[in-house]
Symmetry: C2
Subunit: 212 residues, 2 copies
């Protein structure tokens, strides 16, 4: 198991289990970041890493395994949920706007763009639930917490989706502060107790924002 010395030591060996694993992972990260997930084949990763294709499946089970691993270290929703409850929606809104503007890890951006792929879908399926909805649910801790959390997730994910599908040029052109405020208001609204709080017959602005 433990591989002694590994020639030269220090900076890192170029052979051996851990070294190879790391090399594959690094290549995958670089290629996914630059080309997206779907456009990068197992063979490309392997040849870029200077290893055999079969090793990808040996070490990561399948191409999808690479994704899981990369996302684990990258952290899709880094500690947004812990913290002062009073500013939760503000933090989430800022995070979402930041994502909308293409900020965040280069890998995150690339994966957002590849979000179509079934593999990504499958991996996100777990991550969004476990890294976002579940913690939110626990955090809120009320009866219908899960529903509130799901609603918030919908708003946040929907924004990513619109960016992907339409470009969200108009949204990105808005004053950032104003957009963040609006988003926060939406998230706050997601949190409000379900019940008789709304009056459906009385939309606030049904004619649009200033039809003039």
């Amino acid at each position: 198991m433990d591989h002694p010395e590994e020639t030269g030591g220090g900076a890192g060996p170029t052979r051996g289990r851990e070294a190879t694993r790391a090399r594959i992972l690094a290549s995958a990260k670089e290629l996914f970041t630059n080309e997206g997930y779907g456009s990068v084949s197992s063979r490309m990763i392997a040849s870029h890493a200077g290893v055999n294709v079969a090793l990808i499946n040996r070490y990561f089970g399948a191409k999808r395994g690479l994704l899981t691993e990369l996302l684990r270290e990258d952290g899709v929703f880094p500690g947004l949920i812990e913290g002062d409850p009073a500013t939760l929606t503000r933090r989430l809104a800022e995070h979402a706007v930041s994502r909308l503007h293409g900020e965040g890890t280069a890998l995150q951006r690339a994966l957002d763009d590849s979000a179509g792929d079934p593999d990504l879908q499958a991996v996100y399926q777990g991550r969004i639930t476990s890294a976002m909805i579940d913690p939110l649910t626990v955090y809120l801790g009320a009866d219908s917490a899960r529903a509130h959390a799901s609603l918030m997730a919908a708003v946040i994910l929907g924004l990513t989706r619109v960016r992907l599908v339409e470009g969200a040029t108009a949204l990105r052109a808005l004053d950032r502060e104003l957009l963040t405020n609006r988003l926060q208001a939406l998230l706050d609204l997601c949190l409000e107790d379900f019940g008789a709080s709304e009056e459906p017959g009385e939309p606030r602005d049904a004619n649009g924002p200033g039809k003039s």
Copy 2:
């Protein structure tokens, strides 16, 4: 294979350009509906339709062409946007909730579930913009109409996304009327004029819906 006269007309010939096209389309629809898009291969469609694989590409350019064609007749957002402006958000909310509950065309449901596929993504990319965001923008007709429309689209698409990724069990367990009301309120909020209307420092319910 059967080689009838096809002069009988009426029910339709089984050979000839239009007949073959229709047969392929029907098979694609049936298979996509039952198995999803990604799991159905060109060869499966062809063999189900009793035609040669090459004909799919001859008549529809590619597998993706089948999708485009099917979606054209199916109508993803059937005339929701025209109508009384005062009830626009209500209609959209009801539509979204209905989709959330898995109602709508069987094909729509199936395609929602396959939404991952790059092909679907590409086709939806055009459709969501042209069948939802563009009309909404025109409909609203204000300065920042596009931004409002994008925001509404985000909420609606996000809901689909959450259903896909998490199941949205909690949301579907809610009283349907309450959920629709909340959704309508969210959409109304999307429509409000951007400006100094919100006070970001004062979240409505930051501790969650009744931490008790």
